[in-house]
Amino acid sequence: MVRLPFVLLFSAFLFSTGIYGVLARRNAVMVLMAIELLLNAVNVNLVAFASQLHDITGQVFALFVIAVAAAEVGIGLAIVILLFRNRATIDVDEVDLLKW
């Protein structure tokens, strides 16, 4: 049995990697992938605590998160495709129409 702190450290590492990817990558597909990392870091945490506390609710939540993440990535990729068709780029720094 792996001890809980290792799992949490792993999860934190994974989350930090995701944060980095979301904030630093300029490619929109890479940003979406980084968001997957964030979600999966949370999933690891949920499963770890469920196992530790013998409470199945955490695993159920993890399954919900996986399902929602699949939907989210579908919509996200659709947006990216539309973005590419309209602007011929998927660089998030170029997509700044919402400024003053």
Partner: protein
Amino acid sequence: MVGALLAEEGASAAAAGSNWFVHHAYVITLLPFLSGALTLFFGKRTPGKGPVYGILAIGAGLVLSLGVLFSFVGGGGNYEQNVSWFTIGPLHMQLGFYVDGLTAVMLIVVTSISLMVHIYSLGYMKGDVRYTWFFFVLSIFTAGMLDVVLASNLFQLLVGWEIMGVCSYLLIGHWYEDPANSGAAIKAFVTTRIGDVPFMFGIFALIFATGMTTSNIQVISHIVAGGHVSTMLITVAALLLFGGTIGKSAQFPLYVWLPDAMAGPTPVSALIHAATMVAAGVYLVARTFQVFVSANPVALHVVAIVGAITLLMAALLALVQNDIKKVLAYSTISQLAYMVAALGMGEAGYPAAVFHLFTHAFFKALLFLGAGSVIHAAHSNDMKDMGGLRKHMPVTYVTFMIGALALAGVPPLAGFFSKDEIILAAKDQHTYWLAIVLLGGAILTAFYTTRMVLKTFFGEYRGHEHLHESPSVMTAPLMILAAVTCVVGLLGFAPLGAPFMDWVYFGAAPEHAVFSPLVALISVVAVGIGLFWGYRVYHEYREPDPIVRLGRFTTILEHKYYLDDFYWERIVRPVRDPIAAGVYWFNQHILDGVVNGASWVTMRGSRGISWFDRTVIDGVVNGAGWSMELFGKGLRTIQTGRVQWYAVGLFAGVIALAIIFVRT
């Protein structure tokens, strides 16, 4: 009961036979006030535009007046009733009414002629611009006159007297669009006011004579007759009171306003300037006669002399007038002078004067209304534009003839008996000079009356109008007044008992009246001379008027003895012009200065406020907007549009919150 309103204070002389009519005589005065108010407030919304109120009120007043007269004739005796009005120190003022024979007779005169004039005006004033207003003023005038007649004290009498003055002013100036009419109105008002000033001082003198306690006429008469007041004071008071008569009854030297007053509508001339208001001056002397009798004989001599002078002057002026109304106006002055002269004879002339007032009111109102009917048809006042109207206006002609013969003094019409009484009184008093003046006046009266009738109704028509008889609403009053004129003189006919002299007398109850065939014969001869002479001169129309054969005297008459010119040059202009100049200067310099100063201050003030508004208030408002704009400009720089920057903010916030939660 309305009577309960008058708390019976000091009610006196409730002799046997006094009845409801006498006890409620004040209602006769109040009715026209009420109808005046109704006409003013509801007249224009009433069908027929308002005269209905006045006619009903005065018709009711006539019925009540007849009740008062019959009650009086039936032995009702005198009756007085007063309520307290106000008190100043010892002076105890009252409101009240006093009924005796004089009052009863005057009530009949005022209400009956006012009623006739109201009905006549329905036709005469038809379509007038101020039709409702005319009837309002007519009602208020009647109320004022009735107040004068009924008043038990001099102050109340003065109130009615002034109401009449105002109404006279309003009605003379009824067509004020023409400056001549408004000028005539002002002249009448100011001239009568010159007489009213001594009148007021006369009232004060009489109140002083009572020890400053009352203005009640009966009390004053009693005190004055008692002999405890100095004759000097009474004489002065009498002469001052007579000043009011000179103004209101148009006696020399203040008669100049009455001919000009003919600028008013003719029914007004009939009611106010012939029958009632101008007679109020005579009534005043008759009402306060005890004062004149108790005064030094000089007072009555002055009255007689003023009457005699006015009588001749006005009768001569009537000879040269071409305006039919002015002939009648001078005739009115002359006839009023008869009454004044008769009063000047003292006790003996008193009933004759009141009788002449009584009969004159009817036949002169008749003549004026007849003249109005003529003017209505011929659309001119000038007798040069008339002539031959006899054929076109038969009713007006017959009634006017009756009035004219009554005025001339042809028996058995009204004027003969009353004038005869005055001449008889002069003879009995052995004032032969006055009798001669009266007879001379009678000749002149007959002469100018003949001239007027011949020029108006006989010969050929000289105007260019399509003539027509007046509507029946106008001829009916003429016929009624003509009928009254025919019979009313008999009230003073001695062989029939002369009932009038039993109603109105001064001092002791009169002995049985005597008819003097000699005096009657003389006066008939005088009238005959006048008529014959007039016929000789005027039986055929001639141009210019034959009166110019009098030469320079005609010129003097045409200039009205230069009296008007004298007043204008020596009194009106010297008084008016400096006042006008002073008022003009005051207006230009003081009033305009105040007005301009006020506007200057306002302008400066508003400039200051404008500066404050633009600088401070606008500064605050603009400053608020400007600061918001600056703040917004600063804030929008963080709105980069880059999603990752927003995400940085998001995570930074989460971390901050996490730190806060961990530390607490």
